[in-house]
Symmetry: C2
Subunit: 212 residues, 2 copies
Amino acid sequence: MDEWLQARVNVLRGRVAGFKVGWPLLLRAGIDRVYNIFSRLEGLRVLDLKLADIGHVMRLVLEDIVDAFDAVIAHAFVGVEGALDELSEFLSERGARLILVYSMSHPGARATLDTCRDVVDKVVQRVKPWGLVVPATRPEVIREARGRYPDIVLVSPGVGAQGAEPGSAICAGADYEIIGRAIAWADDPVLSLRTLAERGVEKLRECIMGKR
Amino acid sequence: MDEWLQARVNVLRGRVAGFKVGWPLLLRAGIDRVYNIFSRLEGLRVLDLKLADIGHVMRLVLEDIVDAFDAVIAHAFVGVEGALDELSEFLSERGARLILVYSMSHPGARATLDTCRDVVDKVVQRVKPWGLVVPATRPEVIREARGRYPDIVLVSPGVGAQGAEPGSAICAGADYEIIGRAIAWADDPVLSLRTLAERGVEKLRECIMGKR
């Protein structure tokens, strides 16, 4: 696991805008190993723990790992008082940025996060996060978020294995597209990245032409 | 850490109805250590990861640890299709039960989870979890959940450090009260447990008298 992780990072660093690390990797590689690898990396390093707990617990989770990352993902719907207010303050002290989940890439998010969009928007407006997670699988949600929050960074998962075409989220207004399995689990990650990037460039060309 | 954990578990086993393990402990002790300790324990063993991700990620997180536990906590608001439907199926295969977060103990949950109660209820009715998390700090939410879901097990955190009195959640209709820091971090956990249990019995006596 450790060798696999270091090898993947070595071939991808410099070729991608950044890395997103989630629970499955953090659990299996362990805090120390993840800290050692990611604290030395350039680019945007996002810790995607989808935190959704009381402030006290979120701080405990992050304490020994946050300094290796530039930003942390938490759920907006966990609310402000006693949760995101404490997380926000903690991240400021540690020099890390907050990214809130605006919506998600799976179909089930429509009947929950998207139905309660007003509640999510109120939290975003109060907490003023650096970034928002918007689903590449649903470009209309990206367009809405971009319209409402012109100055917030939009990171968009769902490209590749989950079905969104490379370039489609950026075309809809996102700043970053996140590709997980289609690169991280590929036999040849650099080849997969190159193929996906070429398709992305093609898509963006169409996108720009379409908007003229 | 390992010795501390084993010692706490050793003095508390048999004196409590079960144990709840969250991310801070799992991250620091590691999967193998937590698996070894909790797979051998009697009582209700709850893995409280407050999962709120797509099904694929939740399964990856649980794969190597779920067999040491009886139940797993996930957020209802993450939604059904592509998330809780897959988690539910995975847990059935592995013989573990699902507990969904109905509301939480911090004040910020009022403006989010409680405001979107209809959405949460729809998810609960579709997924039919074994249990629900209800906040001991807000007994009116416990009474509502008990009224709507007479056959679902209600587990209630927030007793002790977060301010709820022992016995108050059970008085309002919960099945289990969860005490975290006030026992787990106490200098003498057995003494703290005994003191809290005595206050709980006193509270329940008042509760029963009040209902006559």
